[in-house]
Amino acid sequence: LALYFHIGEREEKCIIEDIPSDTLVVGNYKVQRWDIHIRDFLESAPGLGMFVTVSSPSGEVLLSKLYGPQAMFSFTSYHTGEHIICFQSNSTRIAVIAGSKLRIHLDIRVGEHFLDESVIQAKDKVNEINVRLEHLIEQIHHVTKEQDYEREREEKFRKTSEETNSNILWWAIAQTLILISVGIWQIKSLRDFFIAKKLV
């Protein structure tokens, strides 16, 4: 767990994962609290936990649990799209002491299939290759899933562009028509007005 960042005690930090359906996402985190007295992050703070909330692209909540200061969580996506993983500490201190912050170590893995290392240790060479090949096939399936999802997204992109294109065309025609008809109405109305007022 190497990458870390800081947030305020009551702050919520979210990260976005755009993934296809049926994808397993595993996250590992470790949280430490800043202690003013020793001016460093405590190795472990009792009672410190993290709320981990995972929302699916349609807004429904896939996972919402309180974990301890160091934990591993995982979820499988049902729909394709942007899933949002949010972290918030369970700190209940209302008056936040100035300079108080949390350090979160984070590691998120998407779509990985884990190789069972104990099986690899078997002396049988053929078995080993077998296991590695199966692992490889799983990974390729994940690549294919991502590509399907990418095709869907590109189609949506294309539809949006074509909609913009026809929008521009029709609105330009509509505005020209409005311009012409309003112009004609203006002239007619003014002419009738001046004739009525016996100015012409």
Binding site: L3, I16, E17, R132, E150, R153, N167, F193
Partner: protein, 216 residues
């Protein structure tokens, strides 16, 4: 993320040592950077490790962000303002905590979605050569080349996904803007034209009902 390299039949202790010595990690995170905000990430790196930082802005405004990478002494290794995409490779000159920050402080109201991928160290070889007596068998070298090819497939896939997301975001922005602007313009057109006529009419009519004769 490429699968962690699998090792040959090494005894467990050696395996642990091998893991510790060449710890290759890659962290990729997509997060939202609010306007006027700065987000920093820290990583502990051993001396001599080759690292790569790559980032891309996916949605928001002009799709650009400031990025800055500092070594444990505070010396700036990489600093770019308003970049949409960049990739930076460096070798850690000393042990310590390296820090990189993304800043959206120049933007007043657009928040940006930023993706970054920080790769530390090279991937360990699939079949490490410590215990070897012979060269790699055909099967093993086939495995190695498949592994490399898949890694580059995943790399390309990620890049393509990000670029497509960025393009789609721009297209959706454009669509909304065209719709609102066209409706707005049509309304303004109508209002102004009708208003003109009534204004002109009002110039030629008095409050009293006497007709004014204008000299021809």
């Amino acid at each position: 993320m490429p699968p962690r390299g699998s090792r040959g039949p090494l005894p467990p202790l050696l395996l642990v040592w091998a893991l510790a010595a060449c710890a290759a990690r890659a962290s990729e995170i997509t997060f939202e950077l609010p306007d006027n905000a700065k987000q920093c990430f820290y990583e502990e790196i051993a001396q001599g490790t080759k690292c790569t930082l790559e980032f891309q802005v996916i949605t928001g405004g002009h799709y650009d962000v400031d990025c800055r990478l500092e070594d444990p002494d505070g010396a700036v290794l990489y600093k770019e303002m308003k970049k949409q995409y960049d990739s930076f490779t460096f070798t850690a000159s000393r042990n310590g905590t390296y820090k990189f920050c993304f800043s959206n402080e120049f933007s007043t109201f657009t928040h940006k979605t930023v993706y970054f991928d920080f790769q530390v160290g090279e991937d360990p070889p699939l079949f490490p050569s410590e215990n070897r007596v012979t060269a790699l068998t055909q099967m093993e070298s086939a495995c190695v080349s498949i592994h490399e090819a898949l890694k580059s497939v995943i790399d390309y896939q990620t890049h393509f996904r990000l670029r497509e997301a960025q393009g789609r975001s721009r297209a959706e922005d454009l669509n909304t803007r065209v719709a609102y602007w066209s409706i707005g313009e049509a309304i303004i057109l109508l209002v102004v034209s009708i208003g003109q006529v009534f204004l002109l009419k009002s110039f030629f009519s008095d409050k009293r009902t006497t007709t004014t004769r204008v000299g021809s």
